[in-house]
């Protein structure tokens, strides 16, 4: 019997054969101890082979921390065991997949994973619980249908995303699909895109108004624009750089209002060169291009890129794809026929939320709502067959973790719906409040703090039953959830966003979510929300009820949710949630002490809980609560436009938080800011005590930067950032304090009387 390698060698591109063979060799080298684990780690990441939760060999089972005794001690990266199951990310440029590719993806999920395919918020697929030894064959089978996993992870150009409606959208200026494809192809493995300190994400959007492209939150993004030159319409892009979510969101800056299409690839290359040359390499926390753009300023960054551009030797690929752009078109399988005939039960509701009528008359886009972005191999295979019957190759994934079938003849929609219902994929509610987006969180992610998917599933269940009785204004809100501050769930750009965190109540951990309100999905991720407060995970559904209920009751006419949030103000919103922030005693309600969908008692690590003889609140916790108050007040000043005061309060909040930790070691420390920062640096930063959990040292730099370089002028951008940074710094101090308490090294505490 031939191996997959032999069987597929004739169907794969020679370059892919070579790359995958090389990766297999690197696996062998690592196995024989001839390749350093750090180098191998980055190597596999650049092939999309990712670590997964518990791959350090420890797992808390709810009672104790178990050692997972794999038979081999071999590692595939620092503190990452070889035999521990991992995740395989599969890049899908602009989300475009063919039925044959879907069949292959389904097979791979069945044979190497757990028969489930997960669509990510960047149009990728992910397979979980994959063994690293299976990855070369998995890659070969993908390569045989034209898919590469190269640079799906690691410090590289990640999946190039684009609107799933590109080419069929009424509002688009032109179809960005061929440009997204060309960019992905050009930069894949490009030598100038190999020396980054961090990842680099690119997105394209066909218009400014709709959200699909989310250009504003990307490292680089292009919005389709045209202008008339010599009586001819010329295509180009409004080019943005330096956006990003992550812990602190940055708005992308306008690099060029009209970048002619022939300049797209060379400019992308020049941006990559400047980023590779000047971007931070040592400090990963400040290594995304957004930090470089912020540091240099957009004018200087633009100047450097344009200078770089002048030095570049022309590459025929820069414009070689443009003739294909002119010819690019998708071929529908069926003739356009208007919707007619009998409609099955449930069709109207599904049609109202899941069907978009294309600009091409008689055709529609049908969205397949995937709960939590998941579908089975069997569903994927059946979906591929449906595409073959109804639409041909016109299938795409979306950043809302769904799949769309494009170019459906409208007359086929009832039959398509019947088939989807039969497959269990006929749920309505695409793009509505039910269509909750969530990152993997604690289910599989090593960084997850709280269960984003568990919460998302609970919210979906609660809202689905009443979706069509909800007020229209609420029905179309977005909910997005991240398991930690890193924003993979895109909580910053959601009407109602949540990110996972943890609090210690009576020496027990309680899963919480920070509530982030008023972000904007529309306008290409037009605005970021700000934190309101931290609420126990089990109370989050009630948060949604309260906030949306108030919106329905008190909104002025057609007031949008963002306008409503702004008008009501964060102070009042926080007041609305105040009692939900309380956690009942463990003896009274243990449900708060475990996460959604996980019966284990909640924990954030492998350390055991200290014994507790009563409700103990440390002095540091009081100081931290004060710091939280200061940063909240800073947010209020930010909202009222008093940027100087917002900055001052956020800075004070950071000093206060730092002081809370310093005092655990040096109670009589002077509280002037120079002393606090100096002591904090020496005791917690230089010693890496802060940094041992949740990348705390990264957040310490927010304090140092603000302390060393106060702003020369007070702008909205700066004030918003400093408030966000203060919030994150406080979170890091909380985590550090909790860690020290667990180890019994935060000695100064006072007994609280009558505290809940």
């Amino acid at each position: 019997m031939p191996t997959w390698k032999e069987k597929l060698s004739i169907t794969m591109e020679p370059q892919l054969v070579e790359e995958i063979d090389a990766f297999e060799s690197q696996i062998a080298l690592r196995r024989s101890g001839k390749l350093d684990e750090k180098i191998f780690a980055e190597t596999r990441l650049r092939r999309g082979v990712y670590g997964q939760r518990y791959d350090n060999g420890h797992r808390n089972d709810g009672v104790r921390t178990q050692e997972l005794n794999f038979s081999s001690d071999l590692t595939k990266g620092p503190d990452t065991l070889w035999d521990a199951p991992g995740m395989q990310r599969i890049k899908i440029p602009f989300g475009g997949v063919t039925p044959d590719q879907m069949d292959t993806l389904a097979d791979l999920a069945e044979e190497y994973s757990d028969s489930v395919l997960h669509v990510t918020t960047r149009q990728d697929f992910q397979l979980h619980y994959v063994h690293i030894d299976d990855t070369p064959n998995l890659m070969r089978r993908l390569a045989a249908v034209g898919i590469t996993t190269r640079e799906a992870c690691g410090n590289s150009v990640r999946n190039v995303t684009a609107c799933p409606l590109a080419g069929v959208c009424h509002g688009e200026v032109f179809d960005v699909t061929p440009y997204a494809r060309a960019t992905a192809k050009f930069l894949l493995g490009h030598p100038d895109a190999q020396g980054f300190g961090r990842k680099f994400k690119i997105a394209f959007s066909g218009c400014r108004e709709r959200a699909c492209g989310l250009v504003n939150m990307h490292d680089m993004g292009g919005i389709a624009v045209t202008r008339t030159e010599n009586g001819m319409e010329k295509r180009g892009f409004e080019l943005y750089v330096g956006g990003g979510l992550g812990a602190v969101p940055h708005d992308a800056k306008l690099f060029e209002p009209f970048l002619p299409e022939e300049e797209l690839l060379p400019t992308a290359q020049a941006v990559a060169r400047v980023f590779a040359r000047l971007g931070e390499k040592k400090n990963r926390a400040a290594a995304r291009i957004k930090f470089l753009v912020a540091k240099l300023g957009i004018e200087e960054f633009r100047r450097l890129v344009l200078e770089e551009r002048k030095t570049m030797v022309p590459d025929p690929r820069w414009t070689g794809y443009l003739p294909e752009v002119a010819e690019f078109k998708e071929n529908p399988l069926k003739e356009p026929v208007p919707l007619n005939g009998q409609r099955p039960e449930g069709f109207e509701k599904w049609y109202s939320t899941n069907v978009y009528r294309q600009k091409q008359a008689g055709y529609a886009v049908a969205t397949i709502t995937l709960p939590l972005g998941d579908l089975t191999s069997s569903q994927m295979r059946q979906l591929a067959d449906l595409a073959r019957s109804f639409t041909g190759d016109n299938v795409r994934t979306t950043v809302e973790q769904n799949i769309v079938l494009r170019w459906v003849s409208e007359a086929d929609l009832p039959e398509l719906y019947r088939e989807l219902v039969r497959m269990g994929l006929g749920e309505p509610g695409a793009g509505t409040i039910v269509d909750v987006t969530a990152c993997p969180g604690t289910d599989t992610c090593k960084l997850g703090i709280a269960s984003s998917r568990g919460l998302a599933a609970e919210i979906r269940t609660r809202l689905a039953a009443k979706l069509f009785t909800l007020d229209e204004a609420v029905k179309n809100l977005h909910i997005k959830i991240s398991g930690c501050f890193n924003s993979c769930g895109q909580h910053h750009i959601s009407d109602l966003g949540f990110y996972g965190t943890s609090r210690t109540i009576g020496n027990r951990k309680v899963p919480h979510f920070q509530v982030v309100l008023g972000g904007k999905w529309e306008d290409n991720a037009g605005a970021y929300g700000l934190a309101i407060g931290t609420v126990p995970s089990k109370s989050i559904p009630e948060v949604i009820e309260r906030i949306t209920g108030r919106y329905v009751r008190d909104r002025n006419g057609n007031e949008t949710f963002q306008e409503f949030i702004k008008r009501i103000g964060k102070q009042e919103l926080r007041g609305m949630l105040e009692n939900l922030m309380q956690v009942p005693a463990y003896e009274k309600d243990r449900s708060f002490y475990s996460d959604w969908g996980d019966p284990r008692e909640f924990t954030i690590g492998d350390l055991g809980m200290g014994e507790c003889a009563g409700e103990v609140v440390s002095a540091a916790q009081f100081d931290l609560a004060d710091a939280e108050r200061l940063v909240f007040e800073g947010q209020l000043h930010l909202d009222s436009g008093d940027y100087a005061q917002a900055d001052a309060l956020a800075y004070r909040a950071m000093i206060q938080a730092a002081l809370s930790l310093v005092k655990t070691q040096f109670q009589s420390v002077r509280n002037d800011s120079d002393t606090v920062v100096s002591e904090f640096r020496a005791r917690f930063y230089d010693t890496n005590i802060l940094g041992d959990r949740y990348a705390g040292n990264k957040f310490a730099q927010y304090l140092f930067r603000r302390h060393d370089s106060p702003p020369h002028e007070h702008t909205l951008d700066h004030a918003r950032r400093i408030v966000e940074e203060a919030q994150l710094f406080i979170e890091a101090v909380y985590a550090c304090h909790d860690s020290l308490t667990e180890r019994g090294s935060a000695p100064i505490s006072i007994k609280a009387v009558g505290k809940p």
Binding site: D61, H131, D374, D598
Partner: protein, 186 residues
């Protein structure tokens, strides 16, 4: 036949009795006690939100167990991931016994049918879903069944002739009856 990745699914005798979410707690309990022999149990994954999906999944290093809901028919599915030693019959015997061990552990929660179950070759390269492979697999399955269940007579059929599907063998006892499993199988 070089197949290592076999799987087996024993259907629940009384499907309405299955309360899928109960298996989250049950499987977590198994991990706490590392109950399943010769398996390193790692984690539980809740896929109950997926229609006819893997239900509740217990991830182990050697193979995954799940209260699987494929085709709307709940059952204990065991899919082997790591190789076992010996002949193909040995592999299949090991896999059947692992699945039966899990079924035994679930006694008291649900009962499984032993008169009608599925054996799947989760390896399209070495076991494509065609007549030839089915013919090769049949004697291996028969021998493994005899080792595990004694001289009970079974009829073996191809579950689906769709070449895109995995090769799945339906195992039906010739004189159907519902047999609660016993620990003797494991």
């Amino acid at each position: 036949m070089e197949v290592q990745r076999f799987g087996v699914k024993f259907f629940v005798a009384d499907p309405p009795s299955v309360r899928l979410h109960d298996f989250i707690q049950i499987f977590h309990g198994w991990i706490q006690k590392q109950t399943v022999e010769n398996h390193l149990l790692i984690d539980v994954h809740n896929y109950s939100h997926i229609h006819n999906g893997p239900g509740i999944l217990l991830v182990a290093h050697e193979g995954n167990f799940s209260m699987d809901m494929a085709d709307g028919l709940p059952g204990l599915l065991y899919c082997r991931k790591t190789p076992t030693t010996g002949t193909p019959v040995d592999h299949l015997e090991t896999i059947l016994k692992s699945a039966l061990q899990a079924c035994n552990l679930l006694e008291g929660e649900v009962r499984f049918r032993m008169d009608d179950f599925l054996l799947l070759a989760n390896d399209r390269l070495n076991a494509p879903n065609d007549d030839e492979c089915f013919s090769q697999l049949k004697p291996i399955v028969s021998d493994a069944l005899e080792r595990v269940f004694g001289h009970t007579k079974y009829t073996l059929t191809r579950h689906s002739e769709n070449p895109k599907e995995r090769l799945v063998v339906r195992v039906e006892q010739n004189q159907p009856r519902i047999t609660p499993i016993t620990r003797t199988f494991a």
